[in-house]
Structures are given as C-alpha cells and as structure tokens.
C-alpha cells in the first residue's frame, strides 16, 4: 500500500515538475503509435533503420525533452496563424513544417545525424500542429488585425474554481486527466480499432496545409465551448478577471475533441511517412 501511494506521488510529482508541451507526452506517443500502426511494412522498416531500430514512438517527445540543448530550436515557430473568418493562412505560413517535410523528402541525401534529427522534429511537430494550443486566430475585420488571445480563454476548473489556463488544458494533457491509467497503446487501441478506409481517405485527403487549416477551423469550435457558458469573477483570484467555469462535462467535450485530433494526426502522419519512406 505504501508503495502504491508513493508511486502515485512520484507520478504526480513528475507530472508537476516536467515541462510538457502541446499534447503532453501521452498524446504525442499516441499520435506516433497510431501512425506506426498505419505504416506499410516497408515504410516502417525504412524509417526505423534511420533511428537505430527504435520505434518512432520513442522519439515522439524527444524535441520537448532536448530542446534545452539546442537553443536555436526555441526560435522555430510552432504556431500557425489564421484568419478567424476565412481561415486563410496569414503571416509566414508554416515555414518550419515546410522545411522539415522537404528535408524529410530528401532523407537519403542527409547525414545520419541530420536524418535522425529531422525525423525527431517531424514526429513531434506534426502532432504539435494538430493541437489547438498551437493555432493563433486573428480578426481582420477592424483596421488592424487583432489576435484572439488564448489567454482570454483561461478558465476555472469545476466549482472549486482553481484557475487554469488555456494552454495548460492541452499541455498538461487533457487526455491524461481523463484516463490516467491508459498508456499510448490503450489510447491507440481505443481510438483506432476499426477505422474505415472511408474515414482515412477523408481525413488524409489534400495536402498538409489543408490539414492544418482544418485544425484551425476546429479550434474555433473549442473557443465556442468556452463562450457557451457565462463568465464569472472569482474574488480569490488575484487577477480578478471574468472567466468561464469549466465543469466535468466540458472537459469531456475537450476530451472528445482531443481524441479526434490525435487520431487524425496519427493517420496523416502515417500518410506522409508512407509516401516518403514507403519505397
């Protein structure tokens, strides 16, 4: 019993002390594992050959873990910018994703270490870009484009009103909150049991730019979940702002949304890897 509690404590402690980004570790591992399940044997063999025979899942969060050693990566933009009405991409459109995919396409010409690092970047960032926390929306109807700040979607969790921020909802892994005892294999099994070819064709149609635009559109629906409930002030909150109160039911809606994104990201990642490494 003591051991159990201490183990739980350890898990919680580490959950509190490690930095997580976008989906949290379990989410990134789930995306990579769903992708792996949809790789052709040839593509799987080829890509694993490039990364010391390991699974791509092993490297799903490598970028988060090792970014501190590579300062320059911090400057790479992991956020996509879109117009909130037309969902037109604005600013520098996905420069980083573009260069990563282009490098990946020429993987045979890269050195061993450059090839590895490109794969690590891809398997992580591709998941990042499917996270609503990585989408910035702008309202351009006024004179100047106005960013819809995610910080306006901070919220109080449950009646206890502990303050959460929008980013933490995704970073701390909404999915870890819903299923603390599931691993990435459980997630993949649950989400990707018998996905129809029709569904796969639907979500993997078009280019990766289209997919990211699709994410931006659905991000809007997430904002709407927040907008649905009236905002309140919490006297104990030093910032004294009006915030939505998120209840268990809303968390489920986010969970549902997250589940869909994880599956889509995995299927799309598989498509790109199959195209590049499948021959």
């Amino acid at each position: 019993m003591k051991r159990l509690i201490l183990t739980l404590i350890a898990i919680l402690t580490i959950a509190n002390i490690t930095e997580c980004f976008a989906w949290g570790r379990d989410g990134h591992a789930t995306i990579a594992y769903i992708a792996e399940r949809h790789l052709t044997p040839k593509a799987k063999e080829n890509i694993e050959k490039c990364i010391d025979g390991r699974s791509i899942v092993y490297y799903a969060s490598w970028l988060d873990n090792h970014r501190a050693e590579h300062k320059s990566w911090g400057k790479l933009s992991h956020v996509c910018h879109y117009d909130i009405h037309s969902f037109e991409s604005i600013g520098k459109p996905h420069k980083y994703m573009k260069s990563t995919i282009n490098k990946l396409k020429k993987y045979r010409e890269l050195t061993d270490s450059a090839r590895k690092v490109t794969i690590y970047h891809f398997v992580h960032s591709f998941g990042d870009y499917h996270c609503p926390g990585h989408v910035a929306l702008y309202d351009r109807t006024g004179e100047k484009p106005k960013r819809i700040h995610t910080s306006s979607y901070d919220f109080y969790l449950n009646a206890k009103k502990s303050r959460w921020n929008y980013h933490k909802l995704w970073d701390a892994g909404i999915i870890q909150i819903l299923h603390p005892d599931w691993g990435y294999m459980d997630w993949a099994h649950a989400l990707d049991s018998s996905i129809s070819q029709e569904y796969i064709d639907k979500v993997t149609a078009g280019t990766w730019e289209d997919w990211l635009q699709d994410v931006a559109k659905t991000t809007h629906t997430v904002y709407n979940i927040f907008n649905r409930v009236p905002k309140i002030k919490n006297a104990e909150d030093a910032l004294d702002k009006d915030l939505s109160v998120v209840d268990g039911q809303m968390l489920n809606e986010f969970g549902e949304y997250a589940s869909e994104q994880l599956l889509n990201a995995g299927l799309r990642m598989a498509k790109i890897i199959n195209e590049i490494f499948g021959e």
Binding site: I5, D181, M185, A190, S193, N252
Partner: protein
C-alpha cells in the same frame, strides 16, 4: 495521510463521484469482453462507434454524469439487494436499477437495425459500463452497507469509497488495463460458457452473494487496514471483473452477432 492523498488523487482525476471499478477496472472489463466478441458483432458495434473500440467508452457513463441530459442515469450504476424491496412514491416495488436497465436495453436492442444510430450508440455506452457496475460488490446497495463506514487509523471512510477504483490499484497499479485483461482472461471455453450462461437476474443474485462476502470481511469493530482488506478481497474483485467481461461479451454477441 494516506487517505488524504488518495482522496486528493481521486478528486484530481475524477469528474464523477462514484467510480465502481475506476478507469482501470472498467477498461479491463471492456478489453476482456472485446476479446470474446464474434468478428461480426465487433464489426457491427464499432460501426456505431466511429470505428472506436468499446474500451474507449468503458467509463463514459462515469465521465458524463454531470451532463444534464444524463441526469436520469444517475441511479443506474447501482443495484439494491433483493431482500430490501424498494418502493417508489406510490408504494410499488422498484426493480433493481442496473439490472433492469440492462434488461430494458437488451430487449430494446433486439432489432438494433431499426433504431436510430444515436440510440444504438448510447445503448452500447450504457451496456459496457453497467455490466461492469452490476458485478462490483459495493454497487449492491443494501440498507446496512450503504451508510457503513470503516476506520483506517484515525480516518473514517465509507465502504463504497474505500472500494471505488482502489482495490485494483492497490495491487496492480503497475499494470496497464490491456495486460490486466490478458492476465485475467485465462479460462477454458467450457468454463467461459458456464460463466456466460444464465440471465442478468441470475448474475444479480450471484453479485449479492459476493457483495455480502466482501462486506463480511470487514471486522465487526469496523477498524480495517486497507492493505489487509484489499489483499483479502482482491480475488473477489478480479473474479468479478473477469465475469463481467465474459458476460458483457455474451450480451453484446446476442444483440450484434446478426
């Protein structure tokens, strides 16, 4: 101290209140059931779940209790003890909750193709959860056990709370639900067929017996040590989860294997 931590943990993870087997147990039940579905039943079921596995929805009812339309399902998670016939406002006996809901859903689903997709979808979510709940000893709600509290050291806790999600965790915290299912699903085809025979009513009576046994293991002075108690009841818990898995498969096969 332990209690504070455990309850804090539960508070952090749980959005619902009563958790029966917890996420791990319910997922295990669904994994076991899934392995015993016929290919046709599995394909039919998953076509109503957007290609997801029933495992995804194993604890869905617990997660969605706070949703206002789900208010009617609040009482569905438990059964009362047969000796304690409950009555409604008019003095008429009320049938047990989860068992009667299971029976209702099974008959409603007898021709599932004539129902709307969303009704079939939600009925599947109900079944995967309720068959698990009806096998959980503390979900047999009888007058002596409902308010019963036990003490561990200085802490007082309701029996139901002590069980919820924790019994399995106490021993198998290191195992994923997928592995748990592999460990527990080790019976021969003949044994499984025997477990699957009977009706939800028969299983309910059997559940009452196990429930009594689990309650009887609490010392008369109500002073327990979690560790000792959990060690004693772990066999019951594992057995009930396994049977719930097999029976869920039987029910789902009877509906969807056509």
């Amino acid at each position: 101290m332990k209690k504070t931590i455990l309850s804090l943990l539960l508070a952090m993870f749980a959005t619902g209140t009563l958790w029966a087997w917890g996420g791990q147990g319910h997922s295990t039940v669904a994994y076991i059931a899934e392995k015993h579905l016929t290919p046709r039943a599995k394909a039919n079921i998953e076509s109503y779940l957007n290609g997801r596995s029933i495992v995804y929805y194993a604890a869905w009812m617990d997660f969605n209790r706070t949703d206002p339309p789900m208010d009617v399902t609040r009482d569905w998670h438990v059964d009362y003890w047969t000796d304690d016939m409950r009555t409604d406002a008019n003095g008429n006996p009320v049938p047990p909750y989860s068992v009667s809901q299971i029976k209702r859903i099974v008959s409603e689903m007898s021709d599932f193709r004539s129902l709307s997709d969303s009704l079939v979808n939600i009925n599947i979510k109900f079944l995967v959860h309720l068959v698990g709940d009806m096998h959980c000893p503390v979900h047999i709600d009888f007058p002596t056990s409902r308010p019963m509290k036990v003490k561990e050291g200085k802490n007082t806790i309701k029996v139901h709370k002590m069980w919820d999600g924790r019994v399995l965790d106490s021993k198998h915290n290191g195992l994923s639900p997928q592995q748990m299912a592999i460990e527990l699903d080790r019976y021969s085809a003949t044994e499984i067929a025997a477990f699957q025979s009977g009706t939800p009513d028969d299983w309910h009576i059997e559940s009452v017996e196990y429930s009594k046994r689990a309650i009887d293991m609490i010392p008369a002075n109500k002073q327990v040590s979690y560790e000792t108690y959990f060690n004693k009841v772990i066999d019951i818990a594992e057995n009930r989860i396994t049977l719930a898995g097999y029976r869920l498969a039987a029910i789902l096969n009877s509906i969807f294997d056509k």
